[in-house]
């Protein structure tokens, strides 16, 4: 496949310093959704991605979306939910501080639905909200879209994509 060979050749031309620069851009893209594309010169695309991801994140918070906590009873599923939340970068930490009062990512032991622990109580109340399912979908979508963008930034940086 000649096309594939061309891609491989372009990969090899990236030097160590360029790879380091690209890794820094990917990190910046995770920290600030849309920034990766802007740093790579795709300004319009980056701004549109930023608008979509920040918009989805804001809608999620406005609709009391669930900021997932790792549950020892469902470790895999709840961990994947946390990863989806973390996809938007440090904004997730800020959201948790705003909602829970601290950057918490897991329940302290198995959650008890009658517990008076502040984090568990807030988590429970938000889950009970009639609009929380919409908010959760927006939050997870924002995170997953940003994670997908990291691969896009990597491919553009590696010249596999325009």
């Amino acid at each position: 496949m000649p096309e594939r060979k061309a891609h491989d050749a372009s990969d090899e031309t990236l030097g160590r310093s360029e790879l380091g620069r690209l890794a820094a851009i990917v990190a910046a893209a995770w920290a600030v959704p849309g920034l990766g594309h802007i740093l790579l010169g795709r300004v319009q695309r980056g701004l549109l991605f930023a608008m979509l991801i920040w918009g989805s994140f804001a809608l999620g918070l406005a609709h009391e979306g669930r900021l997932a906590l790792r549950d020892p009873r469902q470790p895999v599923l709840s961990s994947l939910q946390v990863v989806a939340n973390l996809g938007v970068g440090p904004a997730d930490v800020a959201a948790r501080i705003g909602v829970y009062g601290k950057p918490v990512y897991r329940f302290q032991g198995a959650p008890d639905w009658r517990s008076e622990d502040r984090v568990e109580r807030i988590f429970r109340e938000r889950a009970r909200s009639g609009v929380s399912i919409y908010g959760t979908a927006y939050l997870w979508t924002a995170g997953l879209m940003n994670l997908l963008l990291l691969f896009d930034v990597w491919d553009i940086g590696k010249r596999r994509k325009d």
Binding site: R45, L48, F49, G55, D152, D162
Partner: protein
């Protein structure tokens, strides 16, 4: 905002715009892919709802 339909439309718009921007480079191509995705999501949900309408439970 508690309208399930409105949320579905907003969600479909966000996701279809995202994928169209990511996978197509020309405005025409983006509009076409975005439109197909949007119609698949919203139209598909409405079609499914129509089929399920006689079976409320």
């Amino acid at each position: 905002m508690r309208s399930h339909f409105l949320h579905m439309v907003i969600y479909a718009t966000i996701v279809s715009t995202f994928f169209a921007t990511m996978f197509r480079d020309t405005p025409k191509g983006r509009l076409r892919l975005g439109g197909i995705l949007w119609l698949a999501m919203v139209g598909g949900a409405l079609a499914l709802a129509y089929v399920m309408y006689p079976f409320p439970r």
